[in-house]
C-alpha cells in the first residue's frame, strides 16, 4: 500500500499542473494546450496566443508553485524530524522572521531613500534582501545555540522565539514608518504570492530543490534514529552534530529561497508532513520525498484558487493555504485524537 503513495502523488501533481494550465483569465482547454505544444493540429492564430500565455505566464507560475511547495513541505518534514516535534516548521530556524524583516526594510527604506535619490530598485532587490535576511537570522540563531561544537535544539527553539520577537519589533517599526502603499506591499508580502512568476525566478530557486533532493536520502536514516533521542541516535551510529548542522543549513537555504521568492506561505510545511505521517507512517525515507510531492501538488492547487477566485484580482496564496490547510488539519487531529494521547 505504502509503495503506491509516491506514484499516486506524482499523478496527482501532474493532473493538478495540467488542470492549472487550462484555468485562468484566458481559458485554454486541454485540446488547445496539446496544440500549443505542437502535439496536435490547431488553429494557427490561437496556437500562437495560447503558447504565449502558457510559456510566459502560466507555466513559469506552475513551475514556481511546484518548486516552492516541494521546498516548504520537505523542509517542514526535516524540521519536525530535527526537533522531534510534529508542530515544528521552517519558521523555527528563524527563516521567516529574518526574511520578513529584511523584505520590509527593503520595501520601506529602499523605496523611501533610494527611489527619492533617483535610483530605481531592480526587481531582484526584494527577494535578494529576503534571502540574505533569512540566512542571517538563521546564522545568528545557530551561533547562539552552539557551544563547544554542540548545537542545542532547545536553545534553537527558545533563541528562535527571542529572534522572532526582535524581528517583529523591527517589523512593527517599519510598519510605523511606512506610507499607505508600502504598508500594503508589506502586508501582501507577508501573506505570500506567486504573482510575477518568471522563468528567471524558477531558474533561481530550482537548484535548491535539486540540492535538497540530493541530500534528503542521506539524512533520512539519521532523522529516523533521531526520533529515539540524540544520545540513542549517537549510540546507533549517527553523527548527530553533523546531522543537525546539515539540516539547519539545508532548511535555511531551501526555505529561505522559497520565502524570498513568494513571501511567507504558511501551513504547507506543517500540514503536509503531518498528513503523510498518518498515511504512510513516520519513516523519513518515504516521508521526505512524498512530502515534496504533496507540497508541490497542494501549492499548485492553492495557487490556482488564489489567481481565479477573485479574478481579475489575486488573493494572497497564504490565505488560500490557511483556509484549505487549517480545517483539514483540525479534521485530522480530531480523527486521530486517540493516538495523540490525553
Amino acid at each position: 500500500m505504502r509503495v503506491l503513495v509516491p506514484p499516486v502523488l506524482l499523478v496527482v501533481l501532474l493532473l493538478a499542473a495540467a488542470v492549472a494550465a487550462t484555468i485562468g483569465a484566458a481559458g485554454i482547454p486541454f485540446g488547445r494546450i496539446a496544440a500549443a505544444f505542437g502535439l496536435a493540429p490547431g488553429n494557427p492564430a490561437l496556437v500562437d496566443r495560447d503558447w504565449l500565455v502558457l510559456w510566459s505566464i502560466r507555466l513559469p507560475r506552475i513551475a514556481l508553485a511546484i518548486i516552492i511547495g516541494g521546498l516548504l513541505a520537505a523542509c517542514g518534514a526535516v524540521m519536525q524530524g530535527l526537533f522531534r516535534n510534529p508542530l515544528a516548521d521552517p519558521a523555527l530556524v528563524g527563516v521567516s522572521s529574518g526574511a520578513a524583516l529584511a523584505a520590509a526594510a527593503m520595501i520601506v527604506v529602499g523605496d523611501r531613500y533610494l527611489s527619492s535619490a533617483g535610483v530605481t530598485l531592480p526587481l531582484e532587490a526584494l527577494p535578494l534582501a529576503a534571502f540574505v535576511g533569512a540566512l542571517a537570522s538563521t546564522m545568528i540563531l545557530y551561533r547562539i545555540a552552539t557551544r563547544e561544537g554542540r548545537t542545542s535544539v532547545a536553545m534553537f527553539l527558545l533563541g528562535g522565539l527571542a529572534i522572532a520577537a526582535l524581528a517583529n519589533a523591527g517589523l512593527g517599526l517599519l510598519v510605523f514608518l511606512a506610507d499607505d502603499r508600502q504598508l500594503r506591499d508589506i502586508n501582501f508580502w507577508m501573506l505570500g504570492s506567486l504573482s510575477g512568476a518568471t522563468w528567471a525566478k524558477v531558474g533561481a530557486i530550482a537548484p535548491f530543490l535539486v540540492a535538497l533532493a540530493f541530500v534528503l536520502p542521506f539524512i533520512a536514516r539519521g532523522l529516523d534514529l533521531l526520533v529515539l533521542g540524540e544520545m540513542e541516535a549517537f549510540h546507533a551510529g549517527v553523527s548527530v552534530e553533523r546531522l543537525k548542522r546539515t539540516c539547519v543549513v539545508l532548511v535555511a537555504a531551501a526555505a529561505g529561497a522559497a520565502v524570498s521568492v513568494s513571501g511567507v506561505i504558511g501551513f504547507v510545511g506543517l500540514v503536509v508532513p503531518h498528513l503523510l505521517r498518518l498515511l504512510i507512517g513516520p519513516s523519513h525515507r518515504l516521508l521526505l520525498p512524498t512530502a515534496a510531492l504533496l507540497g508541490a501538488a497542494l501549492l499548485v492547487i492553492a495557487d490556482t484558487f488564489a489567481r481565479t477566485l477573485a479574478a481579475p484580482a489575486e488573493l494572497p496564496i497564504g490565505i488560500v493555504t490557511a483556509v484549505i490547510g487549517a480545517p483539514f488539519f483540525l479534521y485530522l487531529l480530531l480523527r486521530q485524537r486517540a493516538l495523540l494521547g490525553p
Partner: protein, 269 residues
C-alpha cells in the same frame, strides 16, 4: 586474554560537583559486570563515559586497544550497543521499524530474521505492527532492548563479539521479563560479548554477573564476585541499609527470590 574495554583514572565533573573520581575498570571478552550503588553514585555517568557519550575530564577509555575518541559514531556503533534508561519515541513508528533501526542501513533476509528473533526473544512476537507509542512502558523498554540486540548482532557479524552496555535494563519489567533480559545478556556473554549492566536489584545483579562493581560517591567502593561484594558491611557503607543480607523477611510475609527461577537461565543448572 587481552581486555576489551579499559577505563583508566576517569574523572567527570559538572560545575563544582565531582561525579566520577579516579575510576578504573578493565573488562575482558565475555565478562559480565553489574554496576551497583546508590542513586547518584555515578553509575549512569560511568556508563555514559564507557559508551562514548561523555568525554571525561581526565582519563581515557580504550576499546580493543584504541581510544573511544578515535572511533567515529558509526564505527563505534559496530563495536558496542547501548540500552538507555528511558527512551521516548517522538513519532509513532511500529515496533518492527524501531527494532530494525538497530540494523542501520542493513536490509535483506538476514536482517529480517535478526529482527524477528530479537522480537521473539523479548516476547514481543505479535507486536511488530503496533505503534510503539501505544505500548506500555515495560513493553517499550523490551522493544528497545530488542533493537539493541539487533545492533549488537549486526556488529558481531562484521567485527566479532562487541560490548553491551545496559542502564537499568530491568527497571520497568515484570519478573518474567526481567529474567528474559538477564538470560539474553548471559547468552550474549557466552558468545564472547562483554556486558556491563546497571542494576538496582542486588539479587538480579548476583544472578546476572560473576563480577559486581560497587560505586559510592563517584569512586569504586568494591569490585569482586557477588559473594565477596554483597555483604552487610558494603550495604551499610554504600546504601545505609544495615543487616539486610541473607535475612528472611518477617514471619508470614510472602517474598519472591529470583534465584528460585535459575532453571530458566542458560548455563549453570
Amino acid at each position: 586474554m587481552n581486555p576489551v574495554l579499559v577505563a583508566t583514572s576517569i574523572a567527570v565533573r559538572i560545575g563544582a560537583k565531582t561525579l566520577l573520581d579516579d575510576v578504573a575498570l578493565s573488562l575482558g571478552p565475555g565478562e559480565v559486570v553489574a554496576l551497583v550503588g546508590a542513586n547518584g553514585a555515578g553509575k549512569s555517568t560511568l556508563l555514559r563515559v564507557l559508551s562514548g557519550d561523555l568525554v571525561p575530564l581526565a582519563g581515557s577509555v580504550r576499546l580493543n586497544g584504541r581510544t573511544l575518541a578515535s572511533y567515529g559514531p558509526r564505527a563505534l556503533a559496530g563495536h558496542r550497543a547501548v540500552l538507555s534508561q528511558s527512551v521516548s519515541v517522538a513519532f509513532p513508528f511500529t515496533v518492527a521499524e524501531i527494532v530494525r533501526m538497530g540494523a542501520g542501513d542493513g536490509r535483506g533476509r538476514r536482517i529480517d530474521d535478526l529482527v524477528e528473533a530479537a522480537l521473539a526473544e523479548v516476547d514481543l512476537g505479535n507486536f511488530d505492527e503496533r505503534a510503539i507509542t501505544t505500548l506500555s512502558g515495560g513493553e517499550q523498554q523490551r522493544a528497545h532492548f530488542a533493537r539493541v540486540l539487533v545492533q549488537l548482532a549486526c556488529g558481531e557479524a562484521t567485527h566479532g563479539p562487541g560490548v553491551l552496555l545496559l542502564d537499568e535494563p530491568t527497571a520497568n519489567l515484570d519478573l518474567r521479563h526481567q529474567l528474559d533480559v538477564i538470560a539474553a545478556a548471559k547468552s550474549r556473554a557466552a558468545r564472547g560479548v562483554t556486558v556491563v549492566a546497571i542494576l538496582h536489584d542486588l539479587n538480579l545483579a548476583g544472578l546476572l554477573a560473576e563480577r559486581i562493581v560497587v560505586l559510592n560517591g563517584g569512586r569504586i567502593d568494591s569490585d569482586g564476585t557477588p559473594d565477596q561484594v554483597i555483604t552487610d558491611a558494603m550495604l551499610e557503607r554504600v546504601l545505609g541499609v544495615a543487616d539486610a543480607v541473607g535475612r528472611v523477611p518477617a514471619e508470614g510475609t510472602p517474598f519472591v527470590l529470583p534465584h528460585a527461577a535459575r532453571k530458566l537461565l542458560p548455563g549453570k543448572p
